[in-house]
């Protein structure tokens, strides 16, 4: 018994020691840090077609990667020197911790701006607009959210905005009796489960569903159905209280949109000849117009 207590005490000691060395690097501005070190660390998606993924040649590409390049170019223009771009992988579960721990300076994925997330991180202006829908096998009896009653529905376990959305729909009686939520840490595993009939439908952002459908063996076997249950405006992830850095990213974003470069990048990935054909909705077009701030 005495021995066990000592062991526990030892374990606690290790924890206390860890706390003891706890200190926080003084909050220097990220822009100054980038200028001083000459590097910027960017979090990108690795397995989300087409926001960020590894292509057939093993290259890290995607919509978010191209957008990141624009911000990288803006940084080099600002400091008038080459800045090294360090890319780090992030996924829905790791993206917030990576920002709060300071492991990345900026995260460009497919992150919905939510008020809960605003408590711990900052967001850029919304630069992408989509909404949540359903992916089902072609000919499935599921046509809209009420048809989900009593079915098994897959979704991403880190996609808190999606989960809250469907919880509210169930609470409001839109889906009655409620559906069973099946959580996956990555969308691709969820899609595989859908192909294997483990779940009846997969629920997430339409832009992501389009990516899943496009990379299926026979894209024609799948359809995206249902109303837009929620609107999901995406923002670039930034650390809290970095006003200058946030202003810089926003300005770079606005200029990318105004110069038409944003549209080029969109067409490259989502255009009719892109990896994931997805026409830009009217609301989305309007959002981009509203973001075209004057200089």
């Amino acid at each position: 018994m005495k021995r066990r207590i000592l062991v526990i005490a030892g374990g606690l000691m290790v924890l206390v020691l860890l706390m003891g060395v706890a200190y926080r690097a003084n909050a220097e501005g990220i822009l100054e840090k980038i200028e001083k070190t000459g590097t910027v660390t960017m979090g990108l998606r690795e397995g989300a077609v087409p926001f960020g993924f590894i292509d057939e040649k093993g290259q890290w590409v995607g919509f978010g990667v191209d957008l990141g390049e624009e911000i990288h170019k803006a940084l080099e223009a600002k400091f008038n020197k080459p800045i090294q771009l360090v890319k780090k992988p992030m996924d829905p579960k790791t993206r917030i911790p990576l920002i709060t721990s300071g492991a990345i300076d900026i995260g460009i994925g497919s992150t919905t701006i939510t008020l809960a997330r605003e408590d711990v991180v900052d967001f850029s202006l919304p630069y992408f607009l989509t909404g949540t829908r359903l992916l089902v096998p072609k000919g499935s009896p599921i046509k809209d959210f009420p048809d989900l009653a009593g079915k098994r529905v897959g979704m991403g376990s880190g996609s808190t905005a999606n989960i809250n959305g469907i919880d509210q729909a169930m609470a409001a009686g839109l889906i009655a009796p409620p559906c069973e939520k099946v959580l996956f840490d990555e969308h691709n595993k969820g899609f595989l489960a859908l192909q294997q009939n483990k779940i009846h439908a997969y629920f997430t952002d339409a832009s992501m569903l389009a990516g899943m459908k496009a990379k299926a063996e026979k894209p024609g076997d799948w359809e995206i159905v249902g109303r837009y249950l929620t609107y999901e405006p995406y923002g670039i992830l930034l650390p809290e209280n970095q006003g200058e850095w946030r202003d810089f990213v926003n300005a770079a974003l606005v200029r990318t949109i105004k110069s038409g470069r944003y549209q080029q990048i969109y067409d490259k990935w989502f255009g009719p000849k892109g990896q994931v054909p997805l026409a830009m909705s009217g609301e989305f077009t309007m959002l981009l117009k509203a973001l075209s701030y004057p200089e």
Binding site: R4, V7, I8, G11, A22, Y23, R24, A27, P92, K93, I96, P97, T100, A116, R117, D119, V120, R152, S157, G158, T160, E180, V182, L183, F184, D185, K189, L192, A193, Q196, N197, K198
Partner: protein, 240 residues
């Protein structure tokens, strides 16, 4: 200064408190079921590897090297994603409609089968260290081979192997954390799930760590008691 606001209430306030309770319970019964499977299967495979007929022995050896020499993570993915494809399409549909939480059962099966390959090795070395006289006595008293193993040799080997088997039991609990990768809402998955909603990862991960540590200490204490009760009298000491 630590730039972090601790909020330990994420561990018990609704709805997260209930999530944690369910997560810990899932860890416990998933691991226990897997352990039961591992013990039975491990004893059988261990015994098979002692048999005089070479093909049977080789079968046991193949089982052990197959499951010991691939990462548990890969095995889990196999049981969850690939194994059901071996059934016919209607069989698969029946499986998913009638086994409500397939991921959970894939976790039990995967963890049990993996752990069995390690337990089998402990049993085998225990069989080797059973005194020859026990074998002779068991067979001389007219027991069939299966009876001899079931009634005499496996219980004896179990008692000999108990200390190393305790270690495997602990490992079984810890490995259950990997079931999160196929979506089972056990302790670690719950911790990271609650973190996704609250952004309080320090609190949730600390809680998860303490859960595993207390489980480990409970197992050590319980197995210590079992070991003392089941000690074989007349042996100088436990092996190792």
């Amino acid at each position: 200064m630590l730039n972090y606001d601790f909020d330990w209430s994420v561990l018990w306030r609704a709805p997260y408190g209930a999530m944690f309770a369910r997560g810990v319970l899932t860890t416990v019964h998933l691991s226990l079921l897997a352990w039961l499977l591992a013990l039975v299967l491990g004893a059988c495979v261990g015994a098979i590897r002692m048999q005089p007929w070479p093909p049977l022995r080789r079968l046991g050896g193949a089982y052990v090297s197959l499951f010991r020499n691939t990462p548990f993570l890969v095995q889990l993915f196999f049981w969850y994603f690939a194994a059901p494809l071996l059934l016919s399409e209607s069989g698969q549909l029946w499986l998913y409609d009638n086994v409500p939480d397939y991921a959970y059962w894939a976790g039990v099966l995967g963890l049990g089968i993996y752990t069995a390959s390690r337990v089998a090795e402990q049993f085998r070395s225990a069989f080797f260290s059973i005194p020859r006289d026990q074998y002779r006595a068991a067979f001389a008293s007219g027991l069939t081979s299966i009876q001899a193993y079931r009634l005499v040799l496996i219980p004896y080997a179990f008692r000999l192997a108990l200390p190393t088997i305790t270690t495997e039991f602990l490992t079984c609990f810890k490995n259950s954390a990997l079931a999160m990768t196929i979506g089972v809402m056990e302790t670690t998955h719950t911790a990271s799930h609650v973190e996704a909603f609250t952004s309080h990862g320090l609190e949730t991960t600390t809680a998860a760590s303490l859960v595993y540590l207390s489980l480990a200490w409970t197992v050590i204490a319980a197995m210590g008691a079992v070991e003392r009760r089941l000690r074989i009298r007349g042996l100088l000491a436990r092996r190792r």
